[in-house]
């Protein structure tokens, strides 16, 4: 058995591949559910009803998808240009604390129509700054950004932890380490009243289309793709590598920072160190599942959110540990990576 590179990847194959990957992952996870002693089909049924079975469940799932779309876009944008931003989690926290602090201390009195977009920008800028540091180190001293962005996650989280225990501590929180809340004016309007589903989802979906447009239609998109695929070829053609990477980093870090701002303004209204259940890291999985396509990120984020919300409900009712969600998402990623290989190669005997 050997592999031959396909001449061209057919678009149908590219679309069907993630579906096959997810199916394979569900099949494999099914084995584990059976091992845990639960009926497999019923368990999957419970996951689906848990995620979409009621209005509450469905809005919860969609609310979960919003930050995942944003961190997924952050990873997809960076990875396209071969900028390995593993630091979306830290950028998310910095974006969240910046938005909370700006609202609580500076702009709390501004009307929502002005304050909300302003806080979005502030959150995004905070995320950008945290990614520009490792980028500067890479451009100046060739320091590997995989290491720096990853480690800055811990720096950022500890920094936030310090802030919410000191200068930004909420005096009304009975001593709990949580930040001052955003002003009521800054809370994101709900798409469906009396749910947690806020307009952040709309913002994320619109941004997915914006990123898609930038990548496929603009000169910057073409240059960043060239810089990622073949830096020396791009340099020969006059693509300014440094400037392109700076812009890519600003988009990527900005999207991750925005995810934090959206989460704090839409869901919690204050920052704790438990604001994100690993949205930054899951964003990497989402981006890979989507094959780095910005529109695919929306679907991949929905799938991931479904698994997490649904598996919670399933574990409560069937006694299967909710880790099955993590396992399934991880298995999907693995089978997706294998599937991507098969979209590019065919088997020959």
């Amino acid at each position: 058995m050997r592999f031959e590179r396909r001449e061209q990847v057919s678009p149908i194959l590219a679309l069907v591949t993630p579906l096959i990957a997810v199916a394979v992952a569900l099949l494999l996870a099914g084995v584990l559910i059976a091992l845990a002693g639960a009926p497999v089909f019923e368990a999957y049924g419970r996951i689906l009803t848990g995620a979409f079975g009621s209005r509450l469940a469905a809005t919860e799932t969609l609310a979960r998808a919003a930050p995942l779309i944003l961190t997924g876009l952050a990873a997809a944008v960076a990875f396209r240009a071969r900028l390995w931003n593993i630091g979306a989690e830290g950028q998310l926290y910095l974006g969240a604390i910046a938005a909370a602090a700006a609202s609580a201390l500076l702009f709390g009195n501004l009307p929502g129509l002005i304050q909300i977009p302003l806080l979005f920008v502030i959150g995004a800028v905070a995320g950008m700054i945290l990614l520009l540091i490792p980028l500067w180190l890479r451009l100046k001293f060739q320091v590997d950004e995989v290491v720096t962005t990853l480690l800055l996650n811990f720096v950022a989280l500890l920094f936030v932890s310090m802030l919410i225990d000191t200068v930004l501590k909420d005096p009304m929180a009975f001593g709990w380490p949580q930040s001052l809340p955003v002003s009521p004016e800054a809370e994101l309007p709900k798409i469906i009243p009396r749910s947690r589903l806020h307009i952040g989802l709309g913002v994320a979906v619109v941004l997915a289309f914006v990123v898609y447009f930038i990548q496929t239609r603009t000169a910057f998109g073409l240059q960043s793709r060239a810089a990622g695929l073949n830096p020396s070829g791009a340099a020969f053609a006059g693509v300014p590598l440094g400037r392109t990477l700076v812009l890519v980093a600003m988009m990527s870090g900005g999207l991750a920072g925005l995810a934090g701002a959206v989460e704090v303004m839409g869901v919690t209204s204050y920052v704790t160190t438990e604001l994100s259940p690993g949205y930054g890291y899951s964003g990497i999985v989402v981006a890979m599942l989507a094959g780095l396509s910005p529109l695919g990120v929306v679907l991949a984020a929905l799938f991931t959110a479904t698994m997490f919300v649904g598996a919670d409900a399933m574990s409560r009712s069937m006694g299967v540990p909710s880790y099955i969600a993590d396992v399934t998402v991880a298995l999907s990623l693995l089978s997706m990576l294998v599937a991507i290989f098969f979209t590019q190669y065919r088997i020959r005997k």
């Binding site: 239609r217 000169a219 998109g221 060239a226 695929l229 070829g233 020969f236």
Partner: protein, 509 residues
């Protein structure tokens, strides 16, 4: 001496609709050197891959020393005494020479490897065949020529009796190539049998005993090397008469570019040392030299990728300093990079994207790429420069090397550049493509383009250049005229021996 060691009999292989080999037969005698000659895509490499078990033939069979070789099993091929030296080396740069040679020869279950025995065997082979290597050198530190020697030694270490080399000179300098062919002939005298794949006529005639010409997957001719000529082989290989074009008398115009004592220092190394030269419209200046002597630095300075540390360049009488790549392209300087796959194109992107990338600002309206104009531009290049194998929206990586080069030439020449900097423009191309590239360069020269031709191929420079300068250790020799120079003198210049003749040459030009 007529002991047949290898017999390939009626081998056919198809890849889908493509015929790679059809009914190919050949036999190899002990101590014989055969050249497999053919253009890119003629089926040479496929045939050798079948021999080595990488592919399985659809029909036909291979016998080695009278025994049938089981198909599709590289291990069986190695055991039968076939050694393959690949075009792209299959060695590990982080291991030593000895470790590389021994890899794969010992069972993985042995608790430790018998390095002393390996070393003794390697040194014995190295002496016997005159292949000098240091067994303890890290492979990554060796030159390309030395790595090839290691690759050959590795085959010999496996007790190869039949050595197969896939385009052995594609990566070597002229001098390294000559040395290697001398070694191959010596090996044949000592009883090894050798097949080498090539599309270079000179080396085929000078080294092989027999030449087998493949075209379109079939054997079209077999000649004794003594009884054939370059012209005949070229005709057989391409299937029609191919003659490389020759330049006609020049009508040089004004000086368009003048470099005065240009120096380039990078990381403490002087890549260019006080270099002087000028380019005139409608004229080709050839820069010869063994690669690694500053050619790349020269191309980068003129292409806007590096700023001279010292000296001055004037372009059309104006200061050139501070121009980046886009500025250079906009000023009418065309560039053909030495390494077309690494620098010239981005193989995962489409043909039209590659066509416009270096002039992207011209195809951008308010930040958006004008896709239609880009596609039109690519379509014009494809039509005018006879680029085959793809449409504007197909991936450029699908094209053959010759067609990639035609596209690169096209994207430069279609805009009628005032200056063309061509680095190794025909390297690695087959004879038909070489002729096409040379014709295009001469066409541009006729149209008044000033061409700087950087090349290691003396035939190429002699055929195209109006003046020749040699580059050695970052210094340029004074120019000579090709009519006034022979290969010996150019060879001396490439070795840096021009000091005594410089006075004379200066007056001559």
């Amino acid at each position: 001496m007529s002991e047949t060691v290898l017999d390939i009999s009626a081998v056919s292989k198809r890849f889908g609709p493509v015929i790679a080999n059809e009914n190919v037969s050949l036999s190899l005698q002990r101590g014989e050197v055969i050249a497999l000659l053919g253009e890119n895509g003629a089926g040479k490499t496929t045939l050798m891959s079948i021999l080595f078990g990488h592919y399985t033939a659809d029909s036909g069979h291979v016998t080695v020393m009278g025994r049938l070789l089981p198909p599709g099993r590289p291990r069986a091929a190695i055991r039968a005494g076939i050694g393959m030296v690949h075009q792209h080396f299959s060695l590990a740069p982080n291991l030593s020479v000895l470790e590389n040679v021994m890899t794969g020869t010992e069972s993985l279950w042995r608790p430790w490897s018998d390095k002393a025995r390996g070393r003794a065997k390697l040194l014995a082979l190295s002496v016997k065949f005159g292949l000098k290597v240091d067994p303890d050198a890290r492979l990554g530190d060796l030159s390309v020529g030395e790595r090839q020697r290691v690759e050959i030694l590795k085959a010999l270490y496996n007790d190869a009796k039949i050595l197969v080399l896939d385009e052995p000179t594609a990566v070597l300098t002229n001098i390294e190539a000559e040395q290697m062919f001398a070694t191959l002939k010596d090996m044949a005298r000592q009883g090894l049998s050798i097949i080498f794949i090539s599309h270079k006529l000179d080396e085929v005639i000078s080294t092989a005993d027999r030449v087998i010409v493949l075209r379109g997957g079939r054997v079209v001719a077999e000649r004794r090397a003594m009884e054939t000529t370059k012209a005949e082989l070229a005709g057989l290989m391409v299937g029609r008469e191919v003659t490389r074009p020759q330049r006609e008398a020049a009508t040089p115009g004004a000086v368009v570019l003048q470099a005065r004592s240009v120096t380039l220092r990078e990381g403490g190394v002087e890549r260019l040392k006080a270099v002087d030269f000028h380019l005139r419209a409608g004229e080709v200046l050839g820069i010869i030299g063994v690669s690694g002597n500053g050619q790349a630095a020269l191309a980068r300075v003129l292409g806007g990728q590096a700023e001279p540390s010292d000296g001055q360049i004037t372009l059309f009488g104006q200061d050139f300093t501070g121009k980046d790549v886009r500025g250079v392209v906009a000023a009418g300087i065309g560039r053909i990079p030495e390494d077309r796959n690494h620098d010239g194109v981005i193989s995962e992107m489409t043909i039209w994207e590659n066509a416009i990338l270096e002039r992207l600002p011209d195809y951008t309206r308010r930040g958006l790429v004008d896709r239609k104009a880009g596609m039109d531009f690519a379509a014009r290049i494809i039509e005018k420069f006879d680029v085959r194998g793809g449409t504007p929206s197909s991936r450029i990586g699908r094209l053959s090397g010759g067609n990639v080069q035609k596209l690169i030439l096209g994207r430069n020449l279609i805009a009628h550049p005032k200056i063309l900097i061509a680095a190794q423009p025909a390297r690695g191309l087959d004879e038909g493509a070489v002729a096409a590239v040379h014709e295009r360069i001469l066409e541009a020269r006729r149209a008044g383009t000033a061409v700087l031709l950087i090349s290691e191929d003396l035939d190429e420079v002699m055929a195209l250049a109006d003046r020749i300068q040699a580059i050695v250790g970052g210094r340029l020799s004074p120019p000579v005229r090709p009519e006034a120079a022979d290969a010996r003198q150019l060879g001396l210049m490439m070795a840096g021996e021009w000091a005594m003749e410089s006075q004379e040459a200066d007056h001559a030009v």
